[in-house]
Symmetry: C2
Amino acid sequence: MAREIDRRAARTRKALHQALMTLMLRKGYEALSVQDIVDEADIGRSTFYAHYTGKEDLLRSGFQMLREELKEAQSAVRAAAGTSHDDPLGFSTAMFEHAARYADHYRTMIGARDGAVAENEIRLILSEMVRREMPRTLHGDRMPRDFVVQFIVGAFLTTLNWWFERKPGLLPSEVDVMFRSLVLDGLSPLVDDRHR
Amino acid sequence: MAREIDRRAARTRKALHQALMTLMLRKGYEALSVQDIVDEADIGRSTFYAHYTGKEDLLRSGFQMLREELKEAQSAVRAAAGTSHDDPLGFSTAMFEHAARYADHYRTMIGARDGAVAENEIRLILSEMVRREMPRTLHGDRMPRDFVVQFIVGAFLTTLNWWFERKPGLLPSEVDVMFRSLVLDGLSPLVDDRHR
DNA sequence: TATGATAATGGACACTATGTTCGGAATTTT
DNA sequence: AAAATTCCGAACATAGTGTCCATTATCATA
């Protein structure tokens, strides 16, 4: 069978991915140059371009691989254990634990707020706005106000994005109703069997 | 009184902000160079650097101004009309309408997904995961599944971020409880007087 | 293990952008 | 009108990009 990838190519790719991870943890993604990466990986620059078009391509291909691995893993689990019946948040517990274990990695990937300058600023503005309007009466301290504010702002931006990208035809009022419904009452009204 | 800014400086700044907006709408933020901006604004390059350290600084200062304007505006409204009593989402209706009117602007600001490559990929992975686990029984078609998925993923990432940035001491299980509570039941349990 | 195929190397090159400096010109302030 | 400030534009040093190519190293396989 000759349809395997040349070992050299495989090694090169692995070295590059490895170097990318190392450097991202150290300096963050934005700050990296292709130069940095090939230096860290100890790979020729022209070789890099023989495999990827740039650092973004490299990063994407890494996630691509991860995605396929996860897909298989999940299928396996799904086949073995019984599907957690009707829990739309079944993933959360495991994911939070995973995130805790690999906190550094998650931070660099998600907290990579370098790129989206505009979105960050908008988040700030909206946060101020929401914080100001939020009733003092937040029922004890079950939930940190801070957290609630972020939740609301995040949901708002998600809604805005979905609206623009998927259903630009909807009216503002229609979108507003959906937003408020989801944020105020959550998912439970949408799920059949009441829990608890 | 000598504490006004030189007119020339003011003009320069205005021209630069104007040029930035124009170009962002045309090509997006990431694709812009300082060169592009000063060309569009018809301003000398060295002059640019006399005012800002780079395009990010320029963008930030724009938002800075906007933020202060909004703050005043909101204070004014707040003083005049009665505060909308205890509605933690009081801002939403007006904001959605505003967004509809200036859709192009919002798109370029928020949809600027060029920057956060990693976060985008993570969103994709999580979306697949959530979509797969979401019960078929989504109670009619009151809410597009699509939208619900994005909502869940967004809330998850928000939670993760808040956890890491603000309360890294919490246990995964504790965070999970908060996440599930907010996403499943929404804000209403937190607000005193029941609505409807 | 010889050999043809494939990949890696490293240096050269053209290009684009960055950020700084400075003298002279233009405009504003007083 | 003089003094102060800002703008201009060109020059410069630096850094990174992406491509090309001749040479060398490694691999697949018969």
